[in-house]
Symmetry: D5
Subunit: 96 residues, 10 copies
């Protein structure tokens, strides 16, 4: 089941740089593990913004929630979620 997620990261200006660097490294490692597993199917940087558009492939709403909650940067993110369906005009067999 696919979900489109927009994540906008807002790290407080006064966060200790070492803490921030560690959070980002942990986030990257988990993001790559989730991509390898096929859970995080697409991940694009939005040009000019500290934000991304992502597509997640999960078994349920609960699984999506658990995945997002474990992201190290979750407490610093604004998140927008939309469910995705196969589009009737789509010919791409992997967009579903």
């Amino acid at each position: 089941m696919l979900f489109h997620v927009k994540m906008t990261v807002k790290i407080p200006a006064d966060m200790d740089p070492q803490v921030a660097a560690r959070l980002k490294a942990d986030e990257k490692e988990l993001a790559q593990r989730l991509q390898q597993k096929g859970t995080w199917r697409h991940l694009w940087r939005i040009a000019g913004h500290y934000a991304n558009y992502s597509v997640f492939d999960v078994e349920s709403v609960e699984a999506l929630h658990d995945t997002l909650m474990q992201l190290p940067l979750f407490p610093y993110m604004d998140i927008e979620i939309n469910g995705l369906c196969r589009h009737p005009s789509s010919i791409h067999t992997d967009d579903r």
Copy 2:
């Protein structure tokens, strides 16, 4: 070059059903041709809405504009566009 596009379709309630059906058929045909060419790389229906999230792969801003302008439903769409870049945490070689 990738662009993320959200299209929300708002066909006037009083449009002649035959005109609407023809517009939608033409839209579908062009959408499929553009997918086959690789221009319209992703196309998802947003669940519960007459709207889609799309990713276009074009050579320039001008090419994106020309592609969108020729869509038969363009006059009835609200459109939001964002440029996409490779995300530093991405491992997907096709997300760029």
Copy 3:
């Protein structure tokens, strides 16, 4: 899988009253059938508004989309959707 849906109905002021009455009757019949099946798990009128809050229990995003699209009043609705999870403080066994 549960989804929280807010539907706001906006029937055009100039719709033929007989057409409107028929749409509403069909909507009611389908709404009741979906409640009996357990798909439309909760349905409340929002006080003072021609709108409702609903909870749907479906097998997938696709199933939610198909359910909403077949509602006779769908073309006249503004729709907001949010996925629901079990709340960690919840003791209600049916809120999941």
Copy 4:
């Protein structure tokens, strides 16, 4: 009398973790007590957000206000309230 409440929790990033943990534990305990009493009739986590949709069953507006005001996390919540009525298409005897 039913009220639909959306609560979005915004705990300041610099709150002492022990204070935050205590507030959350107290919140959970009270939430469960109110569920057992039947006051807090539904409680769902909104997927991907530190927020919930709830339905309260109270005797008056005053009772709703007093209930919300005593929540330990109340000072850190954005709250939206809507009164709920039986929907004319509803067949659920407990949605009222």
Copy 5:
């Protein structure tokens, strides 16, 4: 139980003036009847707007909804509702 209601009236520019006049006369008659009964406790015109602030005294959310739904101008109103409680600094015995 008190509710604060803001009603903004938007009569379509192309409504037959006789129909509009009839709707307004019926609205006025019912508004005065509800004031006499004590249901519509306050009614002020908002300066410079075709809108009012009102306070209703009803027995339940359901009663508020039924009262608003029977207003002849209801289909042409934007409505905002908020429950009211006695304010801890209030000395007015009738503001509750």
Copy 6:
């Protein structure tokens, strides 16, 4: 002359509790004095919010401004003001 005022109080989370308690006590004392004088004609708590709806009866815009500016919590309030007139359907002789 009547003005409808909505006040939303936003006391900074890090204000010294003693300072806050003093501000609130002063606010309450002044609010009651203004009610006794007839200046602060109505005062309701908005259910579920640290906010109120009020009606002021003053001699001029200047007098309204001076009244609001002297409230101890004024620096921590978001304020919305609307002038009120007698509504043509009103039968309440005190709503003017």
Copy 7:
């Protein structure tokens, strides 16, 4: 007593041009009469918009309301009103 008023005029595209011309002529005549009386103290066109900023000098909220309601274009205007006071830094004796 001074009020700052922003009026944005939205004449329907399908209004009979003769009706529109007559409304505008009547509006202009009344606007000039009110300026001569001193009621409509300032009147500026907002550059690039079919809108104006105005300052009215009236005896009460009620008088402001009655003045605005009699404007021939009132039914086609969006209106925003703010009370004005003498600014503590002002040296202009006529800005009050």
Copy 8:
């Protein structure tokens, strides 16, 4: 050339009171100098808000910008600017 400016002042709650008092005194002195010169043609306090509506008479956009930038409170202001023209219905010779 006239510009309509709305200034909303937002002094941080934790600013040293002496620094704030000095900024306000400097602001007042400059505001009065600019009024005497005719640059700051109108200055009203918006009732109930720490904000003003002003009209500036300057030779160019550049001059307006330079005037606003030198205001001691500029870093703490939200500013909205609109160009003003003579209104075709205006009879005031000084509203231009």
Copy 9:
């Protein structure tokens, strides 16, 4: 003097195509004349939208207003205007 203008064109769906074509031709002709005169200094299409960003070089606010008002499509445009100044970091001698 430079002004940045965003124009979004919203031609009603039911406008006679011949009338629309004539308006657009007239608009184009005037736009080109104003470019030749140097008044309309920049004109870009915003990709994916029936809208443009423009820079006008005019002698006054009044001149800007008169220029925009004479555009044949003015009645169908949403317009946003901002004054432009030389940027302190600019090295372009023509950006002023």
Copy 10:
């Protein structure tokens, strides 16, 4: 390829003035280098705001992103981006 960018700078009020001065000096130096290279084609200050409108000429979305990300003030900017195309009515050969 042209992109229109609006940058609004929001430097925290409590930033060390020396750090702020250094950031601004670095920003200016880079801005001028990018203008000399032709990448930052236009740069205007928006009158009355700590903000600018800019036009960038880059080879790709990726190049735009990399350019913006390296700006010393990037972490303190709100950024809005729109792709630009040649306008069909444009006669300026450099607006493309």
